[in-house]
């Protein structure tokens, strides 16, 4: 066997084994590096995988979806477009014994087609009296199959906050038994919002739900599966063809006696854009505005609750001046008036949020007309609660009607003539008195000469569709984007682990640096013996590869464990606790990448070391090139004169690169820890108005929007709250257009973030909330005014808070975001201001006005902020929770909400700190390694010291002294650098160092640990008998 020729492989192998100690260190360093990288990438993979699986479960097979909120359309459209019809309402559910209750659920009216959209079969057919509930809801309710639930759903009304609607009719409730619990992959996670939180769903049979809210055969959601949704263009074309007047709540009806055709709205008033189109369709079109007047009085006599109609002269055939009124003979008799008399009209003006203001107007009687000729009940719109009642006493209008004023005479009139108007004014006069947010006409009439009904309908539909037609949204693509564009947690954790990676690189560099002398000598011998320098370098690199490759392999499983640890940490620090379940997943690509990068880094370090002797004469390499280093030359002669301190100093000076590496590493870690500590978010006094709570103490979120203005006594009374109970309290309501949470709590990227409509004036007056930065504000103006600033057409000014804008949306001040409004028109939000972190995290603020213009059918407010006098918080919270129970009110403390929002930021900082600490630990490990190595290298020198009488302690001290200096330098530089960065911030008010003790303790522990390790190492090394070492020299 001894006769075998020598091969390069054997030489490399023998060399590896011979220097097993340093090669083992290299293996470990590469392993650590691979582990850190693989760990970070695996976290990224797991996050992405989790998000992807959740989003797949969330939308099942759905490709495209059309959701119209409160605007219900015909279920027929489902067949016409090939989509699945769903009626989606918000609601509240409780166990029927009231034991458990969940606010803010989603109630889905579904038919048999819905099951076909699920990833897995098993979705049950529902019957009357049964419901299915999602797994998450079952857990929250602790409900089982067979339990009876009480479900309350919001009625989808386009005019929910119009005071004409009967009060208390914004929701309806029903009882049902749980027939099945819907699993995650059976559409149990279905929601249109891009979120990871499992939705709380109740599934009801579609006709049952439709009947419940009195909207037979109407839905508000179409889901297109793989077939129908494959070609979005085609789908939208089909939708456009099918989208007709009934889908807007409009109807063209033939008037009796072939008097022509009339356009009416299900919601009393014709919206302005409909009015415009309706009048454009034909030049003969005339508007009608009928109004319920509280009283008509003249000369001390009064007639209650009558309809007055504003008519175009074309229609009435009467010539009236704008201040004239024509009365029926019935009214003239009742009030005993004739031509020229003054008629006093009292009526309510309808404002947003059910506000009613009674005002009046005076007209001169310009004519008396016979009732029997003019008694046209079709002139008055169908008022909810009114028109269908046989008797006045059964009126159930939303208006405060005093039935005591209704005389038998009026009863008789109602029975005979129903809502036939008693007086007529000009259309202009009517418009100027009764126009409101919802419109200014109750009908448009077309004479027979204007065209037939179907012809008119065709023209009108085409005209309306041009500006107002909902479109299918590519929900699947959006869901994909949500996880695709999500914050890359792989990168984030790589960033967070940056210091760890740098530490491992430093460690490798140091190992090569330490081995450089011996490697150079080896190379020198080989080259002296006639082996080409390239070949020699190749062999040395091959040796590195052989150590690095298994190092990488060892590192990968370690990395996976590390990733599991990180994920576990992430899950357990997540807020609110226990709501995040991550699935572990790692791709081969990530593993390969981590492995290759770690090896490449090792090779890079090796290459860097080889650079030292490239081009040097071989005879110099034989000496290990050591003579290059300053100080060496004099060493031999001055050795005897060495005193301890001098020796240590020279030691540090002799290896400037080595020392710089160590000090630099410590400095980086310290810098990081200190800076992170300083940047802890500042907990401002949450009661301050400039804080993120806006000075509000309570936040009320309702599942069913509140269609009343709770900042007014009248609004409070409507919900049974005495104004006195909220004395001194300030209530600000916000309109909410539901959408994706764009806050830190959403791991995916929000595609359609939630919008909050605010009244900027309310916040300006209070001086609520602080701004981080805004676009330029006019002098002495409040930033809040920016929300009302007019920008280009189709651009709406918006605010968001820092976390939402930067992390949730990845946007900056001045950036824009495109939305599609209720009419299918796109518009852009431009961020004109950045709020400091606030209770609005995850949402975007626009002005209430802009919100109502873009989403006119979004009725009511579902977010209330309440500032109550101190000490009254819990009383008011209880009161609101009770009185707004049917609205599914969830009352929380603003301060707590703010803290929860900040909790995630703190979590990221904690993770960063922990990883930084790990890096520092690794760095200190390297320091100990260097101590051992130095001592070993200088054994002779140290032995000599001992031989001339120094004690072991003294000698070990020499070794440690240098490390103390290096660590000291590193810490000093790190702290100084951190302070330079942090001092200006510490001076400001936004951040203060609240977490000093933690990092300081950590720094101290690590520093002491490092010194202890160094000391132990030095002690161990100096233990060997001095004579052995001396002899070896």
């Amino acid at each position: 066997m001894g006769k075998r020729p020598l091969t390069a492989g054997r030489l490399i192998g023998r060399t590896l084994v011979f220097h097993w100690r340093s090669n083992l260190c290299l293996v470990l360093a590469v392993a650590a590096c691979a582990a850190v990288i693989a760990g970070a990438l695996a976290v990224g993979d797991s996050m992405r995988y989790t998000l992807r699986s959740l989003s797949n479960q969330r939308i099942g097979q759905v490709r495209q979806a059309l959701f119209t909120g409160n605007r219900l359309f015909r279920q027929e459209l489902a067949e016409l477009t090939g989509a699945v019809p769903v009626l989606r309402l918000s609601g509240i559910v409780s166990q029927s014994d009231g034991a458990r209750r969940v606010n803010s659920i989603q109630v889905l009216g579904v038919d048999a087609h819905f099951a076909g959209l699920a990833l897995a079969p098993g979705f049950t057919e529902l019957t009357n009296g049964t419901v299915a509930i999602s797994l998450a809801l079952a857990r929250r309710l602790e409900a089982r199959v067979g339990d009876e639930l009480l479900v309350r759903v919001a009625k989808a009304e386009m005019t929910g906050e119009l005071a004409l609607n009967p009060k208390g009719e914004t929701s309806r409730a029903f009882r049902a038994r749980v027939q099945a619990i819907v699993q995650d992959d059976q559409m149990g996670r279905f929601t249109l919002e891009n979120t990871q939180a499992p939705p709380l769903n109740v599934y009801v049979s579609l006709p049952v739900l439709q009947a419940l809210i009195d909207h037979q055969a109407q839905v508000n959601l179409l889901l297109a599966g793989p077939e129908a949704g494959a070609f979005p263009q085609q789908l939208n074309d089909r939708l456009e063809k099918a989208w007709a007047l009934p889908d807007r709540g409009l109807a063209l009806v033939d008037l009796p006696g072939q008097a022509g055709v009339e356009l009416r709205s299900r919601d009393v008033f014709l919206p302005p854009d409909v009015e415009r189109a309706a009048l454009m369709v034909s030049s003969q079109a005339v508007g009608v505005l009928s109004y319920l007047v509280n009283s008509l009085s003249a000369g001390g006599k009064s007639t209650p609750y009558s309809f007055v109609v504003g008519l175009d002269p074309l229609l009435s055939g009467m010539r009236l001046e704008p201040d004239e009124v024509a009365v029926t003979d019935w009214l003239a008799d009742d009030l005993a008036i004739t031509n020229g008399a003054r008629l006093d009209l009292r009526f309510f003006v309808l404002g947003p949020l059910r506000t009613l203001v009674e005002t009046g107007a005076v007209f001169r009687v310009g004519g008396v007309v016979p009732l029997k000729d003019y008694a046209d009940p079709t002139l008055t719109p169908e008022l909810p609660g009114l028109s269908e009642s046989v008797n006045c006493r059964d009126w159930e209008s939303g208006l405060p009607i005093d039935l005591g004023r209704v005389r038998p005479k009026d009863e008789a009139y109602w029975e005979m003539w129903r809502g036939a108007p008693k007086a007529f004014i000009t259309l202009e006069a009517a418009r100027s008195l009764w126009s409101n947010r919802w419109g200014c006409l109750t009908a448009v009439r077309y004479p027979p000469t204007a065209g037939g009904r179907s012809e008119l309908e065709g023209r009108l539909t085409a005209l309306l569709n041009a500006t107002d037609r909902p479109v299918f949204k590519p929900v699947r693509d959006d869901a994909r984007k949500a996880w695709h564009q999500a914050l890359d947690f792989g990168q984030l954790f790589l960033g967070l682990s940056f210091f760890l990676v740098v530490s491992t690189i430093c460690m490798m560099a140091l190992l090569f640096r330490l081995a450089a002398g011996q490697q150079t000598e080896l190379a020198g011998i080989l080259m002296a013996l006639g082996i080409g320098s390239r070949k020699v370098q190749g062999w040395l690199m091959a040796g590195t590869v052989l150590a690095a490759v298994p190092g990488g392999v060892v590192g990968l499983p370690a990395g996976l464990l590390y990733a599991k640890g990180l994920l576990w940490g992430f899950e357990s620090l997540w807020q609110p606790p226990g709501t995040l379940r991550l699935m572990f997943k790692v791709s081969l690509v990530s593993l390969a990448a981590a492995w290759l990068v770690a090896i490449a880094l090792a090779l890079g370090a090796a290459w860097f070391m080889l650079r030292r002797f490239r081009g040097k004469p071989v005879c110099r390499m034989l000496e290990g090139l050591e003579d290059d280093e300053p100080g060496r030359r004099g060493r031999r002669t001055s050795r005897r004169l060495a005193v301890r301190a001098d020796l240590a100093r020279r030691q540090a000076g002799r290896h400037p690169g080595r020392s710089a590496l160590i000090s630099g590493m410590v400095a980086c870690a310290v810098f990081l820890l200190v800076v992170v500590a300083v940047f802890q978010p500042h907990e401002a006094d949450p009661r301050a108005r400039a804080s993120g709570t806006g000075g509000f103490s309570l936040m009320v979120e309702t599942a069913i929007p509140i269609g009343a203005d709770l900042s007014r006594p009248g609004g409070l009374e409507a919900y049974g709250i005495a104004a006195a109970e909220l004395k001194g309290a300030d209530v600000v309501g916000l309109r909410v257009r539901p959408g994706d949470d764009a806050g830190c709590g959403n791991l995916g990227r929000a595609q359609d973030p939630r919008l909050l409509g605010v009244d900027p004036e309310a916040f300006r007056k209070r001086g609520s909330f602080g701004f981080l930065k805004t676009l330029p504000v006019k002098k002495e103006g409040s930033p809040w005014l920016l929300l009302e600033a007019g920008l280009e057409p189709d651009v709406i000014p918006a605010f968001a808070d820092e976390n939402t804008l930067m992390w949730g949306l990845g946007k900056a001040l001045g950036d824009e975001l495109t939305y599609i409004d209720e009419r299918g028109q796109s518009f852009r939000l431009r961020f004109v201001g950045v709020l400091e972190n606030s209770i609005f995290q995850g949402g975007i603020l626009i002005s209430e006005q802009a919100m109502m213009a873009r989403y006119p059918t979004l009725a009511g407010q579902s977010l209330l902020l309440i500032d109550v006098p101190e000490g009254n918080e819990s009383r008011v919270a209880d009161l609101l929770g009770r009185q707004l129970c049917d609205e599914g009110a969830e009352v929380s403390l603003c301060a707590q909400r703010l803290a929860e929002g900040g909790a995630l930021t703190v979590m990221y900082l904690k993770l960063f700190q922990t990883l930084g600490g790990l890096g520092l630990l690794l760095g200190v490990g390297v320091v100990a390694l260097v101590v051992v190595r130095n001592a070993w290298e200088r054994q002779g020198e140290l032995a000599l010291l001992r031989a001339v009488g120094y004690s072991r302690r003294d000698v070990a001290g020499v070794l440690v002294q240098e490390q103390v200096r290096l660590i000291g330098w590193g810490m000093g530089v790190g702290v100084a650098a951190a302070l330079v960065v942090a001092l200006p911030i510490l001076g400001g008010s936004r951040f203060i160092a609240v977490c000093w003790p933690g990092p300081v303790i950590m720094l101290m522990t690590v520093a002491m640990g490092g010194l202890l390790a160094s000391a132990l190492a030095a002690w161990a090394v100096t233990g060997s008998t001095p004579w052995n070492a001396l002899r070896r020299e």
Binding site: G2, P5, L6, A8, L11, R14, H19, G530, I531, R534
Partner: protein
Amino acid sequence: MSMPLIELRDVTKRYGKDEPVIQGVSLAIQAGETLAVVGPSGSGKSTLLNILGALDSPTSGQVLFEQEDLAQYGDDWLAEFRNRQVGFVFQRHHLLPQLTAFENVLVPTLVTRPGWKDTATERAERLMTRVGLGGKMHSRPGELSGGERQRVAVVRALINAPKLLLADEPTGSLDAVLAGSLVDLLVDLNREEGVALVMVTHAEALARRMGKILELHAGKLGKG
């Protein structure tokens, strides 16, 4: 006079701006000749030897091996030149501690011409036995005595049958008896292998065993 094996013409070597380490040295070595280089420490002996063995290049002057100027060749050629034509024995043996004696001897064969490897392996065995290390072939350098290590180094230097053997104070770390026997061995091998031998030494007795003695003094050549 026949054509010299290797010849230095007016060779000067200086490091940086210092005084030259060797200055204007010219000498010629015939094939199979033996030559001792003596001189005080720091006089440039090792530098001279390194230049002869192409481990270092002169600052000025020429090095001709079989009439060919080494300056015209690149690193790879010079490596091959060292591998085929030159054998080195250093003061510090410079054996690789990770290899056995036998493997150390074979290191130069890692890059030899095809077919030579097997021959070289047999030759290694023969030479090892010849220098009295037949029983120590599988010992590591750490397990060998100083004299044995130098003998391994000698065999390694001769393994590729070079024409020139350069020994830089090969006996420097040996006692007088061992030093004598190592020089005996070198002289014998010089004769057996027909290899020219240039040896740097302090010991006059050893130097006198060489055919010629050159004395270096402050970088300049004088006859010994």
